[in-house]
């Protein structure tokens, strides 16, 4: 067993998280696996396909409980996706589970042709996504997946931020009739809200109101957006925080409202600055003629620094401290 990963929150950020009621939850990956097992018990057509990834996908209990519904293909991502497409074409509901890095590059042509172009309801599940693998390096990071998948028609791209969004996204994906990509990290996440939330396909959630700056996050960056807004509130700045699990289709209405009503927009994503949610938002704002100070907080176009996920987030400013500073710079530069 490896040592526990260092916290992605500074002591100050962790204290603020507690103060804001952002209680520590499970890794989204665990919630995905539990939810899938629950759904698969009720629906024998649901299958989990793994590429020697049942351990990293937290699917060992699934395999024990429903051995006929777990299809292991070995370390062969192309075959994982190709077989998933064939199974889906014959009425099964396959969840093809593999580390996001390998799934979305090694099997990209199968995703494009066998799943999306053929239009079969495969759920592609990219696990340990983004920089989850930390110091294992760029071979294992997926900082390209949103970019490459966004350019493929007929694919919903969903990146849940917390356990609640994860559970809802998996339930929705199990009923989706078109291809879906779900992206999960493996670090424990915090619950982003204790209030009522509704999970609607293609819709973002405004977690905090404000108009000084808008933070738009997806996946594991959303909590840092909330913390940054909390830190800025202490300075008298009220910032909007939007969780945008749907990278595609994009909730343009919520985005454009933020662009029109807030003094700046910052998009935070655990992805390359190229081609991800940030550029999707920039493009939508520009097409709508919304001119607003704008920044993408993401991993720059370089070889990613070595370190844990926490080190990487800190290095590139995907933290409370980094994001709040980005907002200050944008707001003060007005």
């Amino acid at each position: 067993m490896s040592a526990p990963a260092p916290s992605v929150f500074s002591p100050t950020a962790a204290r603020l998280a507690e103060k804001l009621g952002l209680a520590l939850g499970q890794p989204n990956l665990d919630v995905f696996a539990d939810t899938l097992l629950e759904l698969a018990r009720a629906n024998p057509d649901i299958l989990a396909l793994t590429s020697d990834s049942r351990g990293s996908g937290k699917l060992a209990p699934f395999g024990q409980a429903l051995p006929r519904q777990l299809v292991e293909v070995g370390i062969a991502e192309q075959n994982l996706v190709g077989m998933a497409a064939g199974l889906a074409a014959c009425g099964k509901k396959p969840f093809a589970v593999s580390p996001a890095s390998f799934l979305t590059t090694r099997a990209l042509e199968q995703i494009k042709n066998d799943v999306c172009y053929s239009d079969v309801p495969v759920v592609l599940v990219g696990i340990s996504a983004g920089t989850s693998y930390g110091a294992l390096g760029s071979t294992h990071h997926s900082l390209h997946d949103l970019a490459v998948l966004r350019a493929i028609p007929n694919l919903s791209i969903v990146v849940p931020a917390d356990n609640w969004e994860t559970r809802e996204a998996v339930r929705w994906a199990a009923t989706a009739r078109q291809p879906v990509y779900l992206r999960f990290g493996k670090a424990p996440t915090r619950h982003l809200s204790t209030g009522e939330r509704r999970f609607e396909p293609g819709q973002a959630t405004v977690l905090r109101e404000g108009a000084d700056a808008a933070f738009i996050g997806t996946g594991e960056t959303v909590v840092h957006c909330l913390l940054a807004a909390g830190a800025l509130a202490a300075e008298g700045r009220e910032c909007r925080v939007i969780s945008m699990p749907w990278v595609k289709p994009l909730d343009e209405e919520t985005l454009l409202s933020a662009g029109r009503e807030c003094a700046a927009v910052i998009v935070a994503e655990e992805h390359s600055v190229h081609g991800g949610l940030g550029e999707a938002c920039a493009s939508a704002l520009m097409r709508a003629g919304v001119r607003v100070p704008f920044r993408i907080a993401a991993i720059p176009d370089e070889e990613t620094v070595t370190g844990s996920q926490a080190d990487i987030f800190r290095h590139y400013g995907l933290t409370m401290e980094g994001l709040s500073q980005a907002a200050r710079e944008l707001l003060e530069g007005l």
Partner: protein, 283 residues
Amino acid sequence: MPATLMTDRELQFKSIAYRRALLQLIFSAGAGHTGGGLSCLDILNVLYHRILRVSPETRDSPDRDRYVQSKGHSVEALYVVLADRGFFPRTDLQTVCRYQSPYVGHPTRKVPGIEMNTGALGHGLAISAGMALAAKLDGRSYRVFTLLGDGELAEGSNWEAAMAASHYRLDNLTAIIDHNTLQITGPTRDVCSNEPLDDKWRAFGWTVRETDGHDVAALTRVLGAPPDPGKPTCVIAHTIKGKGVSFMESVPRWHHGVPTAAELARAVAELDAVETRLREEAA
């Protein structure tokens, strides 16, 4: 059971008619894969008349046999056979590759009777393995057939799927290799040899059967034979690229060469002559 029961002789006439229709289709579309279409036509003819339990009426039945054309570039041959079998009107073929036509230059599910979108090589076997596994999981008796080019076997994804099909004991899966020994650049043995082909498939746990890929009786025997229990079947069909037109046979440039009007007339005259001879023999 297949919808029609035809004699070997009737199937041979079909093959000639299909070759004519294929050449006319490629000529009229101004594009297409002539050589590989001609090499796999007899295989498709036997599959759709004698082997596959599928018809226009049963094409949505969960129990139908599945056919996936992994060598998707030979789609014109598939269009010709599907049209003749009544999956769509023959007149639709006039739209192949035309603006906004559903009849794309590679197979798509928009066309009735086509199961999956293919065309990038090395995809059909994994898809077919998934389909065959679905049959096993659901306790259904349908069989899955896929047609691969021999040049296509250089794609590593085939061997991932070959391993998995054997691991899951998919005896309801048959991979047919259109072994015409030529690819776009030249002879496959010179481009990147895949021989010994039979031993490779055996080593991956498959039953291997070989046949003349232009002999409808032999193809029927091999494709219709029951599989070895627990083992997927690889049928190596020895074929000639460009088969049936003397000046196209085994000539690499006909991989996607489009005949001129004069070449088309020459080819059709040759096929007509073969047909006449066959009729005289039959009489």
